[in-house]
């Protein structure tokens, strides 16, 4: 039987070495906890990180913590883990607590993966023999293979995530505390992680996840606490609180300078709030009415999307831009839509945008075809985000559709090069190569796909096709 009870917990940080000028800037910012001086005489800057937090978690609870940057999510996790002892109030816990925060405890880049498993395991309260017992499991789950014998500094951040996650979940903690960022692994890993976590939760333990993306929270939690400026302002079922979070996100816009007059300002906020809540049509209309000379619907969509993106609501911005594109063809809006979709992590939707599917207005024959606009935008984005595997894959697919096989192959190779090896990317690469007549390289790609997923029918078919062609040549 595990339990985690917080009673009226307060936490505040002293900030040493802050200059008066820094203090001024701290006072005027809009995110984070409240900052005040403890007392004037000592002139010490204190950040009130948590205020009056009370929680009661018992077996089977899966709590999500949601809130803006600096709302106190990580601090609250640290308090739960016993790392920060509260200034007042108390924390009671029964059961073994395993925190998985930014990095594994005691992680050192110079030590090998195996060394770090042992060190961190010991610090997380395991014995040497327990650690030895779970090493095969970690080897299997992380799929890091030989890498485990190399210094951890050679790992990519995704590999580190795998290692940390594997260790934390091998421990079978009674209370598992996870900070955001754990979902940073690739798609395939995320699915496996979910299975593993699900199995762990199934054994009736307590889970607390902090995140500002609601995807993770919706996936794992049955209860959400919304934090703002160090307070829990709402707690309840996932759907309800997440909605409230988005609404508060929109109202947070209030604090930011908007040059329009008060009424217009109100309308604009309302428009943004509506967009965040998913009522995109109303939002665009409202936004169009904000300005004296009524904006065209298309322009309004463009402006509203830009305003939303500026506030960091990429998903809502993308929704608005997509809706705007239904109204009429517009190069600028199409480019922004691609950018917002990438920012919102919805890369898979870019493809249909490029081929004019899903209710996108017809681009006139006189205009450039949407596919080449999207390709150009993607190429521009990839100049800065050249590690974005999914984006490379999308670009590769589009280029192949345009008939530019050479560039398509180059892009698909980039998509396959990060080592995590997504099977579908390898298959596409193989197909493009085969269509291009490069049967030998195509065979290599299909072999690669088979190595990752031996039962892949598509890879077998591709391979036998390629072999047939090679023989007939």
């Amino acid at each position: 039987m595990s339990a985690l009870i917080l009673e009226d917990v307060y936490v505040q940080f002293p900030i040493f070495g802050s200059q008066p000028t820094l203090r001024k800037t701290l006072f005027s910012r809009t995110i984070g906890g409240l900052i005040g001086r403890e007392d004037r005489r000592r002139n010490r800057v204190m950040v009130k990180a948590l205020e009056a937090i009370s929680l009661n978690l018992k077996d089977g609870d899966r709590l999500g913590l949601i809130g803006h940057n600096g709302a106190g999510k990580t601090t609250l996790l640290r308090v739960m883990a016993g790392i920060y002892e509260p200034v007042s109030g108390r924390v009671r816990a029964s059961g073994k607590i395993t925190p998985l925060l930014e990095v594994l405890p005691g992680l050192d880049g110079e030590d090998t993966g195996y060394d770090n498993i042992v060190s961190s395991g010991l610090m997380l309260g395991m014995s040497h023999s327990q650690i030895q017992d779970c090493i095969p499991d970690i080897e299997e789950f992380t799929e890091l293979g030989e890498y485990l014998s190399l210094p951890v500094r050679t790992y990519s951040s995704g590999m580190l995530t795998r290692l940390g996650f594997a260790l934390a979940t091998a421990i079978e903690p009674d209370i598992l505390l996870i900070d955001e960022g754990i979902g940073a692994g690739d798609q395939r890993f995320a699915e496996r992680a979910e299975k593993r976590l699900d199995a762990l939760i199934g054994r009736s333990r307590i889970l607390v996840i902090s995140s500002h993306s609601d995807v993770l929270i919706r996936q794992f939690c049955d209860k959400v606490a919304l934090l703002q400026e160090g307070r829990i302002i709402a707690i309840g079922p996932v759907a309800e609180i997440v909605e409230q979070y988005h609404a508060s996100a929109a109202s947070a816009v209030n604090h930011l300078d908007v040059e329009a007059d008060k009424d217009a300002n109100g309308d604009q906020e309302e428009a943004m709030a509506n967009a965040l809540l998913g009522d995109v049509d109303t939002a665009i209309d409202q936004f169009a009415g904000v300005f004296q000379e009524k904006l065209e619907r298309l322009e309004a969509a463009n402006e509203l999307a830009a305003a939303l993106a500026e506030q960091g609501h990429a998903a809502a911005a993308a929704d608005v831009a997509l809706r705007g594109l239904v109204t009429g063809p517009n190069r600028e809006l199409l480019e922004s839509a691609v950018e917002y979709l990438v920012a919102a992590g919805r890369v898979s939707e870019i493809g249909s945008l490029a081929v004019g599917g899903a209710g996108i207005a017809e681009f006139e024959a006189s205009q450039e075809p949407p596919i080449s606009i999207v390709v150009e935008t993607l190429e521009a984005l990839l100049r800065t985000q050249n590690q974005h595997v999914a984006l490379w894959a999308t670009l590769g697919n589009l280029l192949s559709r345009q008939g530019d096989h050479v560039k398509a192959v180059a892009a698909m190779r980039r998509a396959c090069s990060d080592g995590t090896g997504d099977v579908t990317h390898l298959l596409t690469l193989g197909q493009i190569l085969a269509a291009n007549g490069e049967f030998q390289s195509a065979a290599d790609a299909f072999h690669g796909a088979l190595a990752l997923q031996p039962d892949s029918v598509a890879a077998r078919d591709g391979l036998s096709n390629v072999t047939r062609h090679t023989l007939s040549c």
């Binding site: 607590i97 925190p99 030590d111 060190s119």
Partner: protein, 283 residues
């Protein structure tokens, strides 16, 4: 209402109400029991420091040997002593001094450099202090080879049952290393000036403490009082060095060290009890 340094008792994570002093004592005691953790931490630190070198920690011994031989040749001329005997004296003093001074200097980084541990998981802070003392003992073991070689070559007459007194002497030094690590670790985490201060004091202390020069060289004078009799570092060095040179440490040596041990542990525990909960916040 939210005074940060209020001394009111508070509950631990396990809901056993305990006073701050008890909390600190429990930390120090339970920390000592986690031999698996601090043993590994200390050992890994040594391994990291000498990673990719061929002879590893013996580099520390080699640099000490070079230092002792070079200084031995100069110093024996200065003090008009036999080079061999003076080198043995230097080596004995230096292996002890290096251990003591590097504990002092490293103590300042105790908490500053380990936020990757105590920011991530709840651990007894004393574990870090034990790891620090343990890794200095490992280095001492390597450095000690220099003394052994020199004493066997130049002054085997020093060796005898008296030499065994060096073991309790060293143990006392290491035992003091724990409170020093906790105290300096906390102070320099909060006030980063301490680190600079300790570094310069240690550097000067090396010259004014009788390590290069025999304590008798100052004769009985006001200077001798200040730099020898009233210098606790001398007494700490001597409880381990004298046996290595075939002498029994003086009663005065032991008294000073015992007093320092009691007062030091007392102060360190008082401060540790008071500020232990704030350490995580100070980083």
């Amino acid at each position: 209402m939210l005074q940060m340094n209020s001394a009111k008792p508070s509950e631990s994570i396990n809901d056993t109400p305990k006073s701050l002093t008890v909390g600190a004592s429990v930390d120090v005691l339970l920390g000592a029991l986690r031999l698996d953790v601090w043993g590994r931490l200390g050992w890994l630190e040594i391994r990291r420091r000498y990673r990719r070198t061929v002879i590893g920690p013996f580099w520390s011994a080699i640099s000490l040997a070079m230092f002792v031989v070079a200084l031995g040749l100069v110093g024996s001329g200065l003090w008009g002593q036999q080079a061999g005997e003076y080198m043995t004296f230097l080596a004995a003093g230096f292996v002890v001094w290096v251990t003591f001074s590097s504990m002092l200097v490293e103590s300042c980084l105790l908490f500053i450099n380990s936020s990757n541990i105590f920011g991530q998981v709840q651990l007894n802070y004393s574990i870090l202090a034990y790891a620090l003392v343990w890794r200095n003992l490992i280095t001492f073991g390597h450095n000690f080879v220099v003394y052994v070689i020199l004493v066997l070559i130049f002054a085997p007459q020093y060796l005898g049952t008296v030499t065994l007194l060096a073991i309790p002497g060293l143990a006392l030094i290491l035992f003091n290393g724990i409170w020093i690590a906790l105290l300096l670790g906390m102070l320099s985490l909060r006030y980063r000036d301490i680190q600079q201060l300790v570094a310069s004091v240690v550097q000067i202390a090396m010259f004014v403490t009788p390590i290069f020069w025999p304590p008798e060289a100052l004769k009985a004078s006001g200077r001798s009082l200040v730099f020898v009799d009233y210098n606790p570092l001398y007494h700490f060095i001597n409880i381990a060095r004298a046996p290595l040179l075939g002498e029994v440490p003086t009663t005065q040596n032991y008294i000073v060290v015992f007093v320092c041990t009691i007062v030091g542990w007392g102060c360190a525990m008082a401060i540790f009890a008071h500020f232990r909960k704030r350490i995580a916040y100070w980083k």
